[in-house]
């Protein structure tokens, strides 16, 4: 089977081709289709490229090993994100220190230095976020996932996702010098997950 034929196949079929036929071309095609999103998410969560690559390797090894555990309850991509989040959590746990997002800013890029400053600022602020808030904000604001998808990928309730995104954004706003003004009377309440 030629690469061009494999490219027309769905994700699950590609996994099957490798698991049952040992087709390494199927691995190649699946990786090229999804590696950027997996590595990208891992990089934004873990903050450095080497750890992100480690996590990505674990994710794709798991994809081909745990193919049988994919139950079609979610989209394949959501399942991939879930594996990625789990791999990043494991990584972060294994490390004694907190993850250190160290955004590599490409100051030579065409966009102005002002953008680079902005990126440095957001990277610095994200470094201080708790892992689960950072994960939720990245999945929402960078990957554009819905609350439902994030809930599936992080194995939490939608309400928890909503709260993590809100807290993460509020903290980032503070870190960027754009602190949301406290609500009159009860500042702590605004960070609580529930409000009547």
């Amino acid at each position: 089977m030629w690469i061009a034929d494999l490219e027309a196949l769905g994700d699950e079929e590609l996994v099957r081709r490798f698991v049952s036929d040992g087709s390494s071309d199927a691995v190649d095609v699946l990786l090229r289709r999804h590696q950027d999103r997996v590595l990208g998410l891992a990089y934004r969560i873990l903050g450095n490229r080497a750890d992100a690559l480690d996590a990505s390797q674990e994710v794709f090894v798991a994809v081909f090993r745990k193919a049988a555990s994919f139950r079609h309850q979610s989209a394949f991509t959501t399942w991939l994100y879930r594996l990625t989040v789990n791999a990043c959590n494991d990584h972060a746990r294994r490390r004694s220190r907190l993850p250190q997002p160290a955004e590599a800013v490409d100051v030579a890029s065409p966009d102005a230095v002002g953008r680079a400053d902005d990126r440095l600022a957001i990277a610095g602020a994200m470094r201080k976020l708790p892992l689960e808030q950072r994960t939720a904000v990245i999945m929402r604001d960078l990957l554009g996932l819905s609350y439902d998808e994030i809930a599936q990928a992080t194995d939490t309730a939608v309400g928890t996702v909503k709260s993590r995104i809100s807290r993460g954004r509020a903290a980032l706003a503070g870190g960027l010098g754009e602190r949301p003004e406290p609500e009159p009377g009860e500042a702590p309440a605004r960070l609580s997950p529930k409000k009547p």
């Binding site: 040992g22 090993r65 490409d106 902005d118 960078l142 003004e181």
Partner: protein
Amino acid sequence: MSPHADTERLSAYLDGEVPTSERAGLEEHLASCPQCSARKSALEGVIRSVGGLPPVTTTEAEHLAIRRAVLEGAGARGPDWALKRARAWRIFAATAAVAAVVAGILSFVLVKASGPKVTSTASAPAPSASPALPSLANDAEVRSYARTQPGVSTFLGQGHAPAGAAAAPQAPLPAPTAAPPAFAQVNPSAPKSDRANASGAATQAGPPTLGSCTRDAVLSGGALLGATPVTYQATPAWVIAYGAPSGSPGGSAGTLDRVVVEVRSQSSCSVLDQATLVP
């Protein structure tokens, strides 16, 4: 004035995750409350900043590192998998040795029947678990590799064998059935999808051996010329050559006048490539 909107509600509002029924009230409040409106703007700034982070592109080196991890990970699937793999290999080695003998006998008989043109009738080499297996990547390589195999080169060198000669080596094998159902597996005129179905059926039959992979073709009149292990596009595979009769699969058994070469996956028996060689 309505109560201030908390940050969680504003955040969800910006994501379109506030129920439609509550949206109008919230917007009304935002229009009249500079404090809440300012907090909403701050959150919008954060969303823009995070969304503006540059995309990550996997480098070729990173791609290869992930790929290697997957392929190596597949080799460490646990004792059960390794055991099956080892058993399949032993069965293959035994079957291939038998195939080599059959191929040797066949080429000998064919040469005798066709006259003394070829003096040497080298038997097919017994395939072994050599670490340096031939590596094939495409149809053209399969063809040229198959032509170098003794059983095949002898067959092709002789042109087609008379029907009588073809019958001789087949004598010990079960007679062809009246309507052989599965020779389509090696029939190059069959559409690709049919072949895929046929190999799919073979996959379900349990762990494949070279014998089970070739049985149907032999039963329907094909004569095994030889089989040898190779890697095909990095997949462990068998190159299997049959002398095949012309005419429709179910039709009258004509002379064996061409060689059908199949590349079959060792793990599933599925057809990875196929070629027909004519003298």
